[in-house]
């Protein structure tokens, strides 16, 4: 079942006609008939097929790469390795989900000097057929000098750990250390006197929790086609979360001019943050430039697991101090995150979100960003937040038990509300955290009875949501229908929300609006689809562009009525003449004005570029019921309830979809998903057989409750909704298992062997 609280039905309340309705998505038919073209579906005449050779070692010096034999193979048109890529300075560039070092990015795209993880690209070929490219890979002779490797985050922090980079000197300390280490950065958020408050607390609970690296698990492997002519003009067709990001990063990695690159977005088969950077595109472009023909590169699932994503495995240490009455007076949180081969784990956002749901006067949050011999971590839905929330929300559950209070009441008593200064700095306004929490208790599932071996767990989560740069264009056709162009790939139905917001603003039926995703040469710059920003920020650009069109339409009507635009009112898709001197004038419809556009000044269109501020934060509260088979340790999820402050739901079905999808990714993270490495640091489960994402039969329906606390900074009150729902599930599931078996398992995933062992240890 699915509920919406506090939302007037469409047409009521705010009087919306389109916002809050559930039209069929404009790109729907393409996608249910198999016509939609994803990354690997694109082909060009004369196209070559590329393959990438990857390091079998977790850490090795690359002594030599000999490509002669491969080049000699008939049908091979180009071979590249690290030496063929320009060396870059350590320059930070915006573009992806966060600023990245271009030197690190380029090194990740193609290894030089050292291979830093198993699966690290060391060379690539382009040939006239996939089979020849495959054969050529075996002919590339790479000589390695294997080095000691380290993957576990605490092992990597040890003074005697194998050093992965000799240029990393821990940042964020009061003074920069003299010696390099694998610890790239310390993040710290402090307020009040945490040690004093812990000392004075009536009750203190302390816990240590761990999570394993997990992959975003999008079903579409990375794929692209790149073509570069002798004139240095390049084109790329690829599936990513941001084609402008692809353009920026390719230009940097290959030292090209932005204007020489044109990137056309394919449909994207899932990303969840994992497609906010480049892996294949610069390689394909370089191969194409050398071969003089378009080159297609498509990853296998094995390559996706070994060489892309994942998010960090982490250690979360939590200490909570409270008064007998349940007031939490102090919190200390220490986070240690695997960054993978280069600095930049999401430990910073994990630290900032760790206590964001609560109002705690004294705290110290410390985060450590640690490089390891594993694939460079990429953003994964609310990067870092699920990991710190797993620790904090597990500890909150234990604290509630220690205090003997209801876990929802404990969270509500200490919960964030308007006017509370968040642990990461700003002061909350217009947030719906407490409403989301209370909605759990109002849900029928709260009253469902639990049988033997069954348990219930509750947890909450926070995500900032961001705004940022977006562009949108609205073009009115001669027949009065509208085209809306944006620069954001549609990863989960955003075309539908763009069409709804344009239709609502123009006052026309949503069916009269055709939204498209334009290439980098056809629309202004737009930050990528991520950070739960598209409906908020790009939606704002769409509304502003539609408003500009309306101003234009009013001017056209004024011309026709021979009056001033101030005397024209736009309402429900029609222009009304307010100039009484002109007598009774029939309103002019958009259709009518469009038909006369040539005579009133030419085509009617507007493009707006902006940098959206005022994104409203998202809060989610989840409740999970499980049954544990005490003999096998197998967990069955019986019921799952997700509530969330969603701002205003523009297309409620896709908001529910975000809540349900995020919850299920979190359930997989909690129960079965993990990167497993052998003693040599090679991934043992690089496929969907043994990297176990949830399947349909693992799950019940995911019940959702949308709490609508509109964001006053968005024309229709939208807040980001995509990320908050993956934050609570790890702890919600773990707390439910704890409730069912009577013993806490602090280490994810909660696989059957671990649970059986815990049950046995309890039995003694």
């Amino acid at each position: 079942m699915s509920d919406v609280l506090d939302r007037p039905e469409a047409g009521e309340g705010e009087g919306f006609k389109s916002v809050g309705t559930r039209p069929i998505r404009p790109d729907g038919i393409e996608k249910v008939t198999g016509r939609a073209a994803f990354g690997a579906d694109f082909a060009m005449p004369g196209m070559l097929y590329g393959r990438i050779k990857r390091s079998p070692h977790a850490h090795a010096r690359i002594v030599s790469v000999d490509t002669k034999k491969a080049l000699a193979l008939p049908g091979v048109k180009a071979v590249v390795s690290g030496a063929d890529f320009p060396d870059l300075a350590d320059e930070l560039v915006e573009g992806g989900e966060a600023a990245s070092s271009m030197r690190d990015l380029a090194w990740n795209v193609m290894a030089r000097a050292k291979a830093l993880y198993e699966g690290h690209a060391v060379a690539a070929v382009a040939a006239t057929s996939p089979a020849i490219a495959e054969a050529a890979l075996d002919l590339i002779e790479v000589t390695y000098e294997p080095l000691a490797h380290v993957i576990d985050v605490e092992d990597a922090m040890a003074p005697d750990a194998p050093l992965i980079h000799d240029h990393i000197f821990t940042a964020g300390l009061d003074e920069t250390p003299k010696l390099p280490s694998n610890i790239a950065r310390k993040h710290q958020f402090v307020r009040g006197d945490v040690d004093g408050a812990l000392g004075a607390a009536d009750v203190v609970f302390e816990g240590r929790y761990t999570t394993k690296a997990v992959h975003q698990g999008y079903i579409e492997p990375h794929a692209c086609v790149a073509s570069m002519g002798p004139d240095g003009q390049g084109q790329i067709w690829s599936s990513s979360q941001g084609h402008f990001m692809v353009r920026t990063y390719c230009a940097k990695v290959l030292k090209l001019d932005i204007s020489d690159l044109r990137v056309t977005p394919a449909e994207i088969g899932g990303g969840f943050g994992g497609k906010t950077t480049v892996y294949l595109e610069p390689v394909a472009l370089l191969l194409s430039r050398i071969a003089g023909a378009p080159v297609k590169l498509v990853m296998s699932r094995d390559e996706v697991f070994r060489a892309t994503g994942p998010t960090s495995g982490g250690v979360i240490e939590v200490k909570l101090g409270a008064k007998k009455d349940g007031t939490i007076t102090a919190a200390e949180v220490t986070l240690k995150f695997q960054a993978g081969a280069f600095p930049g784990s999401p430990v910073g956002t994990a630290a900032m979100t760790a206590l964001a749901c609560y109002d705690i006067p004294n705290f110290r949050i410390v985060g450590w960003d640690v490089v390891t011999n594993s694939a460079k971590t990429a953003a994964y839905r609310a990067p870092g937040a699920p990991i710190s929330a797993f620790g904090v929300e597990s500890a909150m559950d234990e604290l509630a038990r220690k205090l003997g209070v209801d876990p929802v009441d404990l969270r509500a008593k200490n919960g964030a509300r308007d006017g509370v200064r968040a642990a990461y700095g700003p002061t909350f306004q217009n947030i719906g955290f407490l409403e989301s929490l209370h909605a759990l208790k109002q849900h029928p599932n709260w009253h469902a009875n639990l049988g033997p071996n069954q348990g219930r767990g509750v947890a909450v989560g926070f995500w900032f949501n961001v705004g940022g740069e977006s562009t949108a264009a609205v073009h009115i056709g001669e027949d009065g229908t509208a085209t809306v162009a944006t620069g954001n790939p549609d990863i989960g139905g955003s075309r539908a929300s763009m069409a709804i917001m344009a239709a609502e603003t123009l006052g026309i039926p949503v069916e009269d609006v055709r939204p498209i995703v334009a290439d980098t040469a056809s629309i202004g710059y737009s930050m990528l689809t991520g950070g739960s920003r598209t409906t908020f920020a790009t939606g704002m650009a769409v509304v502003r562009a539609a408003e500009k069109v309306i101003e234009n339409l009013k001017a056209r009507a004024a011309k026709i009525w021979d009056t001033t635009p101030e005397n024209v009112e736009w309402s429900a898709g029609k222009a009304y003449c307010l100039d009484t001197a002109k007598g009774e004038q029939k309103p002019l419809t958009l259709k009518g004005l469009a038909a006369q556009s040539a005579r009133t000044g030419g085509p009617i269109s507007a493009e707006v570029s902006l940098n959206a501020q005022g994104a409203g934060p998202g809060f989610a509260a989840h409740m999970c019921d499980v049954e544990v088979d005490p003999e096998t340790g197998h967990v069955t999820v019986l019921r799952y309830t997700a509530t969330q402050d969603v701002g205003r739901a523009i297309h409620p079905s896709y908001v529910e979809g975000q809540m349900q999808g995020g919850a299920v990714q979190g359930i997989g993270w909690a129960l079965n998903e993990e990167y497993i490495f052998d003693a040599e640091g090679r991934m043992e489960n690089a496929g969907f057989l043994d990297y176990r994402v949830p399947v349909a039969s693992d799950l019940p329906m995911i019940d959702t409750v949308m709490i609508e606390v509109p964001n006053p900074r968005h024309p229709y009150g939208a807040k980001g909704v995509g990320e908050a729902p993956i934050v609570p599930p790890l702890a919600a599931v773990a707390n439910a298992v704890r409730d069912a078996i009577g013993v806490r398992i602090p280490d994810l995933p909660l696989s059957p062997p671990k649970i059986r062992a815990a049950i046995d240890s309890k039995a003694g």
């Binding site: 069929i24 996608k31 198999g34 492997p221 296998s300 699932r301 979809g657 496929g687």
Partner: protein, 162 residues
């Protein structure tokens, strides 16, 4: 390794193509016949994005050699709608917003059609187990299951009417 000549019936039409022995049915459909609606998500039969129906049986086209298709009847996502008329499953997937990115959707639709062809009135549990071989990472399956059960009801009504 000479090429093999294959004749099969694809979406009701006779189709002929030449294939290497090592080419999968999925690659032949996508590269030889231009039917790119079937997707490769894993290449090992673990994700179901390449699902097609062969002689009435649901299979992963990435786990079948193209040469094995000789003389068989193959149904892909491209054959599911009749001209402009969507199959009730396609219609219900749209109405229920049962897709987000849409990459797993063709395989899920083909698998769901195979279910309803065999079992016009499946329970939620039967539907979930039948579709367990079709991974979706976006939706959490909720809306997919609802769409399939709803489409089943529509098809039962159509049958009664006919």
């Amino acid at each position: 390794m000479s090429k093999i000549h294959v004749t099969a019936v694809v979406n009701g039409d006779s189709a002929e193509f030449l294939t290497d022995p090592g080419t999968t049915l999925l690659d032949a459909l996508r590269d030889e016949l231009g039917l790119t609606g079937s997707k490769e998500g894993c290449g090992s039969g673990d994700c179901g994005a390449c699902s097609v129906i062969v002689d009435g049986r649901l299979v992963c086209s990435c786990l079948m050699l193209a040469a094995e298709a000789e003389g068989h009847r193959i149904e892909t996502i491209e054959g599911m709608a009749h001209g402009g008329d969507l199959h009730p499953l396609q219609q219900k997937f749209l109405e229920h917003a049962a897709l987000q990115c849409g990459f797993c959707t063709p395989g899920l639709l083909v698998a769901a059609k195979a279910l309803l062809d065999n079992n016009p009135d499946p329970t939620e549990e039967e539907t979930r187990y039948w579709l367990a071989g079709n991974l979706c990472r976006c939706t959490g399956y909720d809306k997919i299951i609802r769409a399939v059960l709803d489409a089943a009801a529509v098809l039962r009504q159509e049958r009664r009417a006919a």
